[in-house]
């Protein structure tokens, strides 16, 4: 668990707002070089890490986890020293007023999202959620200083420092999808090349939150015989019991969807059943709203399996996961990597 804790904390500290993933390439490469035979990147901002099997003709298994996170972008510098912003990805604006942020420009600038006090709010607006257009970042800088420091287009992160809760639960911004990046790294770190049945192509992909194109571009380059997409999914939470969700702490899930490969998905489940590995199941009947949806229809079509880590409070600075579920996903990935594709299909 120490590897998971340490690397997760480090991954969550990296600024990876969609479209700016390459800004964190150096540190990611440093981590990945320890466990992979090859590291590379493309112009879109996808990172591809390869771990080879000892077999020269091994099929290519792509394992994807996205690197990017939701955030904001500076649209204007206003008189009085405020910054206006637009969203990058599906931000939950309910949590924004008075949130702490970091503006990434020539230097990292600490800021707060200002809010209109209840005394001054128009009646009616007190109970409604402000839109992003009504919210501004306050840094304390003057307008002239800001114009010098911050270009229009600078990315902004909502601060959510890595925090340990009880019973192996942790909270941080961007656990969607760094929790999966961490699980994939943990799996590859522990895989033995002797038993490995595939050449593994790990894609730490860009811009899942803004169109899901990154992983598909990598898939087009890699042309894998099989792909496993890993992402977070809604973990059950008090107050939302009706939702068909998976539970934090009970292991990673294997997802069932029209857009995933039926044979392989069933094969993975039966393999885990046979070996007595705990996992959960969740059904996403048509779209999965993950990188799976474009990867599966890339090129001539790629058979995919989708796996998820349950996560609470998605797209907030306090996204919460259980470390056990990260370990669980890594364990499942290792078992699949040790099983021939034809065996999976035949189970």
């Amino acid at each position: 668990m120490d590897f998971i804790k340490e690397s997760l904390k480090e991954l969550c500290s990296l600024m990876t707002v969609s479209g700016f993933e390459k800004k964190s390439r150096t540190r990611l490469f440093e981590i990945a070089r320890q466990y992979f035979d090859e590291v590379s990147e493309d112009s879109f901002g996808n990172f591809v890490f390869v771990k080879k099997s000892l077999n020269n003709n091994a099929p290519r298994l792509m394992i994807d986890a996205h690197f990017d996170m939701v955030g904001m972008m500076v649209t204007d510098i206003l008189e009085g020293g405020f910054l206006s912003v637009t969203n990058i990805g599906g931000l939950d604006t309910r949590i924004l007023p008075s949130a702490e942020v970091t503006v990434y420009s020539k230097r990292e600038i600490y800021g707060l999202i200002s809010s209109i006090p209840p005394h001054l709010s128009k009646s009616g607006s007190k109970s409604s959620v402000p839109t992003l257009e009504e919210l501004y970042i306050d840094t304390g800088y003057s307008v002239d200083e800001l114009k010098e420091l911050v270009p229009v287009g600078a990315p902004v992160v909502i601060n959510g420092e890595y925090t340990e809760l009880q019973n192996g639960f942790v909270a941080a911004a961007s656990l969607d999808d760094k929790a999966c990046v961490c699980a994939v790294f943990d799996a590859v770190r522990r895989i033995s090349a002797e038993e490995l049945k595939y050449d593994i192509y790990v894609t730490v992909s860009a811009q899942e939150e803004t169109g899901k194109c990154g992983a598909a571009l990598s898939a087009c380059r890699i042309r894998p015989q099989m792909a496993i997409i890993t992402d977070v999914n809604f973990g059950a939470i008090e107050g939302d019991k009706d939702y068909d969700s998976i539970v934090c702490g009970k292991g990673a899930s294997v997802d069932i969807s029209a857009l995933t490969d039926r044979k392989l998905t069933r094969g993975v489940m039966r393999l885990l059943d046979k070996e007595g590995v705990q996992y959960q199941r969740i059904c996403e009947p048509s779209y999965t709203y993950t990188n799976n949806d474009l990867v599966s229809v890339t090129g001539e079509g790629i058979p995919t399996v989708l796996m998820s880590i349950p996560l609470r409070s998605m797209h907030t600075p306090v996204e919460t996961v259980c470390l056990k579920d990260i370990r669980s996903l890594a364990d499942i990935l290792i078992r699949v990597a040790y099983t021939e594709k034809t065996d999976l299909e035949a189970i």
Binding site: S18, G19, F20, D42, S43, F44, N46, M73, T75, D76, T86, I88, E133, P151, V152, G153, Q207, T210, G211, C213, G214, A216, L217, S218, C220, R221
Partner: protein
């Protein structure tokens, strides 16, 4: 105003029916290109060969309009829209069909801004029989093309989206200085119906860098959207729109080129609306992308408005990118 601009604006071509406008562009482009390719979708590629970086410029040549869906008993033409019609502006405006039949676009209820499917076209026919002599199901209509100078550098007309981009690209093709770069000047189809044309061209060319040239919404008018971009403020360098987050390396490089060459520019973040940029970035294995925009007021109305000085800056920046990026 150049004769070329006039010709580009006055030749119609709704999405999927770009034949006529493509011929006008081809006649001009073949004077300066090493080769001309027209792909199966109808995209026109003007290639200037080089051994350096492969750069693809894309400017869409289609425009919004209508297809005839049926003709009713009274001789009114029922239509379906092609792209995002501004129905407020469309109401009671002049439209013209591909065969040159003129008509008026009518809202069904004169007191409200009509929904797009409520618009129909009156060509003056008094019966279905009369109307069918001049119009068939599947014919297209566009808003009557026109262009005129208003005051100083300000021009109004339609469709400036995106014939003004086509003008920029043709002028750049003509004026670009000799360079090692392998240049593709592409005039794309079907941008207005979902960026459909640019993707297969980018798939074919596999550029290192893709640059789209299109209009962007300008602010500063009572009715305009919230944006910093202003008509007359110079060429706009796109940072983001609804279809794309531009590669920040290209944004920075474009700013540098402007500063080096004294090109007047402004930053652009467009909150609504997409461009070919997004389609090019995500074709095949992807490429670096940027976009330059001509600030335009009243986009998709019957009177779009530009400042010709911005167009000149856009031509300079396009050449600078082609020669030096």
């Amino acid at each position: 105003m150049t004769e070329l601009l006039k010709k580009l604006v006055l030749t119609s071509g709704v999405s999927g029916r770009e034949d006529k406008i493509r011929e006008v562009i081809k006649a001009e482009a073949e004077k300066y290109a090493d080769e001309i390719i027209i792909d199966p979708m109808g995209n026109l590629i003007a290639h200037k060969r080089g051994k350096g970086k492969k750069i693809m410029f894309a400017s869409h040549m289609d425009e919004i309009g209508y297809f005839v869906t049926f003709i009713d008993e009274k001789g009114l033409i029922r239509v379906g829209n092609v792209g995002g019609i501004n129905t407020l502006s469309a109401s009671y405006s002049e439209v013209v069909s591909e065969r040159g039949v003129c008509g008026v676009a009518l809202p069904s209820d004169s007191n409200e801004v009509p929904k797009v499917d409520a618009l129909c076209i009156d060509i003056g026919a008094r019966s279905k029989k009369q109307a069918e002599k001049r119009v068939s199901i599947g014919d297209y209509f566009v808003h009557a093309p026109h262009i005129k100078r208003l005051y100083g550098n300000i021009y109004t007309g339609r469709p400036l989206d995106n014939r003004i981009g086509c003008l920029v690209l043709l002028e750049a093709l003509k004026n670009v200085k000799p360079t090692d770069n392998d240049l593709y000047f592409v005039f794309t189809v079907q941008e207005e119906v979902g960026l459909r044309g640019a993707k297969p061209v980018a798939y074919r060319i596999e550029p290192d860098i893709g640059i789209a040239i299109d209009v962007t919404s300008a602010g500063g008018k009572p009715t305009s959207p919230k944006t910093k971009v202003k008509i007359g403020g110079g060429v706009a360098i796109k940072i983001k729109d609804a279809s794309v987050i531009c590669s920040y390396e290209i944004v920075e490089k474009m700013r540098e080129l402007c500063l080096d060459s004294n090109i007047k520019y402004q930053d652009e973040i467009l909150l609504k609306g997409g461009t070919d940029t997004g389609a090019i970035q995500t074709a095949k294995m992807g490429c670096l992308v940027g976009a330059l925009s001509i600030p335009t007021a009243y986009i998709h109305s019957t009177n779009e408005m530009i400042d010709i000085s911005d167009v000149k800056e856009a031509i300079k920046l396009t050449c600078a990118i082609a020669e030096r990026i």
